[in-house]
């Protein structure tokens, strides 16, 4: 079956001209057509453009060109601006917004010859952990349609898990790649902050947002990340450092690798989740790695810290959606104030408004020091503790999520419980560290993930560790029933 092949295998099949990119693209478009109605993983399908891009890729292939993603289909999270294609960010605010330019990530993958099948559903403005805040409705988890796929990159993760595309892009501000990847049984990589350009990626919390990849394996993710990464003069926070050959780093033995087990995460873990982590540690030890306990005492402060910093930045980032130049504008505005209030009041959903209000509050005169400034200090503390830990260990390991996917509607009315879903993932964002989640087993027939966190710019090491794990296990090859 075409859709069970890895990116490497597909590229080889295309190179040998056993199949054309147009045929491959059609295959995925047909899967989307028949399977997505039950999932709602895509907001916009771009079949026509996809076939044109596939035909162009076929011409390049016919010319003898070989490239790792040439002719390979993908789905972009609808947070990335795509020239001439609606870019909604999961919001009514941008329901009518057709981006006039490509995000750098989109442009790079386009230049690499990848074929865009459509734009993935997501939590509104990436604010959510269940994909339920989307203006376009919840996404159903392919493993159980009554369950959430996680979020905010819920559409991307569900699409890859359902084999609607070989890979998808995502963004991760507090776990938005890793958490949905874990809950849908796929591999999600959040690179180091600054590794991938944020240009054209609609901002939620600028100091935390990072683009990454959701794929079926670390090996596939390595290929994609290679082409997404690198310095971009259009993003001042992007880092001007050469991108290592990630694929070439795969396969290195793990002998002597020191893996720190995060005490703060392992303690109090639900028993079955703890057993999955224990099993993963066993795999790593069998591969020659050494595991040792590591404590980051400030790490439990990640969630409150995040829910000050991220809303503060979002309250300012989302000010540009004012009904004046693009996006939703209320009908019959009486005056300027009315235009602002109703355009924003009607254009944004409840969770976005909650965060804008929280953020406005923590930045206000009289509260700034107690909230924003204090949160920045804690953030620095957490960063310092990570740095100290990486003097003792090469990687850190822990669970990706506290529980498997929960029922749609179960937590949406309780923001604090919802926010605690990201308890294990937020730390890496606060410290700007690369992290990934790989499937590590099941609880109640629902997939679970184990998370690896590395020092800044250790993507090669992380991907290799994940790849070795996947060579020794087959969790990542499990396909949701009905999507084989």
């Amino acid at each position: 079956m075409l859709h069970t092949r890895s990116i490497g295998e597909l590229a080889e099949t295309l190179r040998r001209r056993e199949i054309s990119s147009v045929e491959l693209t059609r295959h995925y478009l047909e899967r989307i057509e028949s399977l997505d109605p039950a999932l709602n993983a895509l907001i916009t399908k771009t079949a026509e453009q996809a076939l044109l891009q596939a035909a162009a890729a076929d011409r390049r292939l016919a010319g003898g060109e070989t490239a790792p993603l040439l002719g390979i289909p993908l789905i972009h999270k609808d947070i990335f601006c795509t020239d001439g294609v609606r870019t909604s960010c999961g919001s009514r605010m941008l329901d009518n917004f057709v981006a006039p330019y490509d995000a750098t990530v989109v442009a790079r993958l386009k230049a690499a010859g990848a074929v865009m099948l459509g734009k993935a559903n997501m939590d509104e403005f990436a604010m959510g952990s269940s994909n339920e805040t989307s203006h376009y409705g919840a996404v159903n988890n392919p493993w159980d349609h009554g369950k959430v796929p996680g979020g905010s990159s819920g559409g991307s993760a569900a699409a890859v898990a359902a084999r609607l595309a070989p890979f998808a892009t995502g963004t991760d501000t507090g776990g938005s790649i890793r958490q949905p990847a874990a809950l849908t049984g796929v591999t999600g990589v959040k690179p180091t902050y600054g590794r991938v350009s944020r240009y054209g990626m609609i901002a939620f919390a600028s100091s935390l947002d990072q683009a990454g990849v959701i794929a079926r394996s670390a090996a596939d993710a390595a290929i994609v990340l290679q082409l997404m990464s690198g310095f971009d003069a259009k993003d001042s926070t992007s880092v001007d450092m050469p991108v290592p050959d990630y694929a070439a780093a795969l396969g290195a033995p793990l002998q002597g690798l020191r893996i720190g087990v995060l005490k703060e995460f392992a303690d109090g873990l639900e028993a079955r989740n703890g057993a999955l982590l224990g099993a993963a540690l066993k795999v790593y030890r069998s591969l020659g790695a050494e595991t040792l306990d590591v404590s980051l005492p400030s790490l439990p402060l990640s969630v409150p810290t995040y829910y000050v910093v991220a809303p503060a930045e979002c309250s300012s980032n989302l000010s540009r959606f004012d009904g004046v130049r693009f996006g939703y504008r209320c009908k019959d505005a009486k005056n300027l104030q009315d235009l602002y209030e109703r355009s924003r009041g009607e254009g944004f959903g409840a969770e976005v408004k909650r965060r804008i209000m929280t953020g406005t509050y923590v930045l206000s005169a009289g509260y700034f020091d107690a909230y924003y400034l204090k949160a920045q200090k804690v953030r620095q503390l957490i960063t310092d503790e990570f740095r100290a830990a990486f003097e003792r260990v090469d990687l850190l390991i822990g669970p990706t999520t506290p529980t498997p996917a929960f029922a749609i509607g179960a937590k949406i009315d309780d923001p604090v419980t919802m926010y605690l879903n990201d308890i294990y993932t937020i730390g890496a964002n606060l410290a700007g560290l690369p992290a990934l989640s790989v499937p590590c087993g099941f609880i109640d027939d629902l997939p679970m993930g184990v998370q690896l966190i590395g020092p800044h710019f250790s993507e090669s090491r992380l991907l290799n560790a994940a790849h070795r794990f996947q060579l020794a296990t087959d969790w990542h090859q499990r396909v949701p029933p009905g999507y084989e």
């Binding site: 990335f80 601006c81 870019t87 960010c89 941008l94 917004f97 981006a99 006039p100 330019y101 995000a103 944020r198 240009y199 054209g200 990626m201 609609i202 901002a203 919390a205 600028s206 100091s207 003069a233 259009k234 993003d235 001042s236 926070t237 503060a312 930045e313 309250s315 300012s316 000010s319 540009r320 959606f321 004012d322 004046v324 130049r325 693009f326 996006g327 300027l336 602002y340 406005t360 930045l363 206000s364 005169a365 700034f368 924003y372």
Partner: protein, 482 residues
């Protein structure tokens, strides 16, 4: 008894930096383009776009900092100033708040009595300008022009060191001279490239504590600065003396009515929710960069004035006038290079007198002078070598200004050469004396004042061409009874 009030003024000056592109986008900054034709996706704050700092704007800010002897911050922070307004597309302005790029410096101004006063400059920071809202000519709507959005500004904040409207103007003019010397701002006040907000308060003389201040926004001419401050000072004093209290507020100056009026009070002011802009890294400036900028610093106005004074024995006032712009200073030096330093004072007088008058009359800048430095030097040369008198030289100057041509050709064509032949002058004097026997008798009887009458008659007879010194000498000896 009337209270003696002391006026306290601080200025926040906005100098638009003369970069080709905007501070955070690649769009052009040219003034006067059709509305919204110079607004890129970044200026329009499209979803997903990011700011990238223009290095040229930083270079210009550093140049300014060095010119006022201020420390340059090795690390400064861009912050977001959050508020909603249609001409502010992002809903926040990127500015520098807690840590500005330029620290404390000073600028010297000359007061009316010739004394020099040092005015403290608290800081200068980089920020972006907003767009423009247009409320005229549109029915039931406002227009937004975002061409100006993102134009780089250097906000220069003075200490509350200024004590009168005149001092404020002198400071503003000095700053204006400086930024043009540095080539970092075109100084065009009509187009808004150089404008200021004035913080004005009054306090009883001798009191240490400042009075409550009002901020007058957006003054874009030296005259408006002076008039607005004068008006505001009078308003505050009148208010206090009639038992009222000044409240801290923002006021607008209406130049048509010559008054200021309240815009918004402190209570209504926005909470700008400043925080560091996470899209921009801290601005890091190393010693090598500062050193490189330092090497590009031109001779500064005060240095040039001091050199003129020392080298050419000019008064502080003359040196100040001639160094008011780089172009004027260069013109003066070009003239003096030809006349020689011994005649620098003559050159200075002519440039500040006849030439300035003619430029002013025809509304020309020194760079567009109809007399090149060599032409003026040629004219001065004829005064120095006594070919013509200073008085005739003014006529020659006018002819040169009107019709072009060198001094020599004008003098030759119009026969203006000075008469220096003693015999010729003596003959004229003899004729004048012979024609006025009564005046001669009166003069000799003691009416000394009549000397001037004889000079006038002799000059008239020579169409003013007689060498004045020779004429005086000869006339005196003849009248006194040769």
């Amino acid at each position: 008894m009337m209270q003696d009030w002391e006026v306290v003024i601080g200025l926040e000056t906005h100098a638009q930096l003369a970069t080709k592109s905007k501070i955070f986008s690649g769009a052009a900054t040219t003034y006067g383009a059709p509305p919204n034709s110079q607004a890129s996706l970044v200026d329009l704050a499209y979803p997903g776009v990011l700011p990238v700092l223009n290095a040229e704007a930083v270079r210009m800010a550093v140049k300014f900092g060095l010119s006022i002897g201020a420390p340059i911050a090795q690390r400064s922070i861009f912050a977001r100033k959050n508020y909603f307004y249609p001409d502010l597309p992002k809903g926040y302005q990127i500015s520098q708040y807690e840590i500005p790029v330029v620290g404390r410096g000073a600028l010297e101004i000359m007061l009316d009595d010739g004394t020099v006063k040092s005015v403290g400059i608290t800081r200068a920071h980089l920020e972006e300008d907003a767009g423009k809202s247009l409320h005229e000519g549109l029915a039931h709507a406002s227009g937004i022009d975002l061409n100006r959005a993102g134009t780089p500004l250097l906000e220069i904040v003075s200490e509350p060191d200024l004590r009168s409207a005149k001092e404020a103007v002198a400071y503003m003019k000095k700053l204006h001279t400086l930024v043009r010397y540095l080539d970092i701002c075109d100084g065009n006040m009509q187009e808004g490239s150089f404008r200021c907000d004035a913080n004005v308060s009054v306090r009883p003389r001798g009191q240490e504590k400042y009075g409550t201040r009002a901020e007058i926004k957006n003054l874009n001419s030296f005259r408006f600065v002076e008039k607005a401050i004068q008006h505001e000072v009078a308003r505050q004093i009148e208010l206090i003396e009639s038992g009222g209290k000044v409240i801290q507020e923002t006021r607008l100056y209406d130049s048509d009515k010559d008054e200021t009026r309240a815009m918004r009070s402190k209570e209504e002011a926005n909470d700008y929710r400043y925080f560091p802009d996470p899209d921009l890294l801290p601005l890091q400036i190393d010693a090598a960069f500062i050193e490189a900028v330092h090497r590009t610093l031109p001779e500064l106005p005060d240095e040039k004035a001091a050199r003129f004074s020392a080298l050419f024995q000019l008064s502080a006032y003359d040196a100040g006038v001639l160094s008011a712009s780089r172009e004027l200073g260069a013109y003066f030096e070009a003239v003096v290079a030809l006349t020689g330093a011994a005649h620098a004072k003559l050159a200075a007088n002519w440039i500040m007198g006849e030439l300035a008058g003619a430029l002013n009359r025809d509304n020309l800048e020194i760079g567009a002078s109809r007399l090149a430095p060599a032409a003026l030097a040629g004219l001065l040369g004829r005064i120095v070598d006594a070919t013509i008198s200073g008085k005739i030289a003014k006529d020659v100057f006018e002819a040169m200004w009107r019709e072009g041509g060198g001094a020599d050709s004008v003098i030759a064509a119009q026969g203006l050469r000075q008469i220096t032949d003693a015999g010729e002058i003596a003959a004229v004097i003899d004729a004048v004396i012979a024609a006025n026997p009564k005046q001669l008798a009166d003069y000799r009887a003691g009416k000394d004042k009549l000397f001037g009458f004889f000079v006038g008659q002799a000059m008239k007879a020579t169409q003013g061409k007689a060498n004045p010194a020779q004429l005086n000498l000869l006339l005196k000896s003849k009248l006194d009874g040769a």
